[in-house]
Point group: C2
Chain length 323, copies 2
Amino acid sequence: MQPDLSSLLTTALRQLDYGQQPATLYDPIRYIMSLGGKRLRPLLTLLGGQLFTDDLAPLVKPALATEVFHNFTLLHDDLMDQAPLRRGQPTVHEKWNPNVAILSGDVMLVRAYELLFENVPLPLLPQVLRRFSQTAAEVCEGQQWDMNFETDTSITIAQYLDMIRLKTAVLLGFALELGAVLAGAAAEDAEHLRQFGTDIGLAFQLRDDLLDVYGDAATFGKRVGGDIISDKKTFLLLTAQAQANGAQQATLARYLGQPLADTDAKVRTVRGIYDELGIRPQTEALINDYFQAALQHLERVAAPAARKQPLHHLALQLMDRES
Amino acid sequence: MQPDLSSLLTTALRQLDYGQQPATLYDPIRYIMSLGGKRLRPLLTLLGGQLFTDDLAPLVKPALATEVFHNFTLLHDDLMDQAPLRRGQPTVHEKWNPNVAILSGDVMLVRAYELLFENVPLPLLPQVLRRFSQTAAEVCEGQQWDMNFETDTSITIAQYLDMIRLKTAVLLGFALELGAVLAGAAAEDAEHLRQFGTDIGLAFQLRDDLLDVYGDAATFGKRVGGDIISDKKTFLLLTAQAQANGAQQATLARYLGQPLADTDAKVRTVRGIYDELGIRPQTEALINDYFQAALQHLERVAAPAARKQPLHHLALQLMDRES
């Protein structure tokens, strides 16, 4: 996709020094950072910067702040969700223990700030730190809403969309905005890029919800139907509950919220109701709305069309419309 | 002690806006910040600044960053230590739940950074953020060492002193240094103040260890002997283990590391060995060493003696040599 930029990021990530002693504090940081992933957020920072400058070297370390921050949220979220695996490997709280996960995560948040204030030019620093901190708090708010929703039976679709915006989308928006700001973009262009990233993030998360139900088991990477089995209140379920007739409501109520031996039957039945209500095309329509809104924001950025090509290409890839 | 400065801090603390929604994220922050305490760290920042300037107003909000950070560490430490009470009230993980404690703490760390970069003059910002981040990581290192020590049977006295330096003392040093830097002090003076704070912190923590064994139950506030009952490897115990003869070693081994029904006998027996070995005067001598070293650093700060009086007075108060 962006072989040069990706290898630039990978090399820089490998060279980061998080600290040494005690090893029980710093080994988990090196461990989670080494598990890989797409490095999507720092890539967005570089691609956002590339719209306005050819000299991306000064953007690399600030870009890594978004990756360290993202992995900090994964570390603490995995502990809160009691997830056993992250990218196929034991999570930090499993491999070490919950207290190590708390403390190592805390230090990662400190290191993310360091990557910014040690590498962002002074005149831009207050603005960058303000937007980073706002985004960081919003991501925490999103995670808290997500946890609240587990026991809340009155969630609206609007509340769900706001939750995924905070938990996932705003950080993608910030990563792009950061690249633009560091590359000297006008405030208006940085803002359009932020909204491009946020809308792509919303589209991407909804697509993930959709694939969880309708994805190809061979390529999805997670168990298809997992959200249905765990009663997760996704856009699909909330929309179905809002549109179901009496019989469908009764069926949903029979299958949701209780441990069932036959999870395949649960997935089949709930998906059957989704099919009756046309939940799939409705979700696809909303994904497309966000995707088109994103592209319009990218369109409005005052930069040559040729320079927008990599971001356009990445957006299509994230939507799996091209590969 | 410093009625004007304390009420200045209390008023400013009450006006801080941590955020609103979700309430499950922000109520715990308001809760722990309202539990009180001496507000020692921001007071040190103001007293450090007062050596060099009469205009303390610009120092108040940066000073509060040290208090928000300190309470963030209390929130996460209480969760890690499974402490039921903080200042006589339920801890956040007890009143809400562990996940809320993790996330609320995370946001508090973000808010501490915000209090700095929103209120520290730009030319001083990189230096202040660098020293704050270094201190924040060191406090996490200290907590990790403290947890490691629970299962480590080979801790030296030097390792213990380094642990309490990181966990407790460096933040007091930073609070003072912050005040000096913001008030325009020379680098050398800021450094002497930092060392004054660090040495006072070490003396204060050792005094806490001593009072846990030899304190007056009526005024100590915690159960006297608590460290002995829980086998905590304090300076007193490590020194006793290093100096005990064969019979004393055998007695210590019989009482330590196992649940005992008669905790009073355990406290009495271990304290008896401390008495035989003269652990109390040895600890008092070390406390006095740190205290005198602290005063020498304060002495060397290039500021009028009259301006040093409140810091001198506070140091004596912390050592309970005057009240």
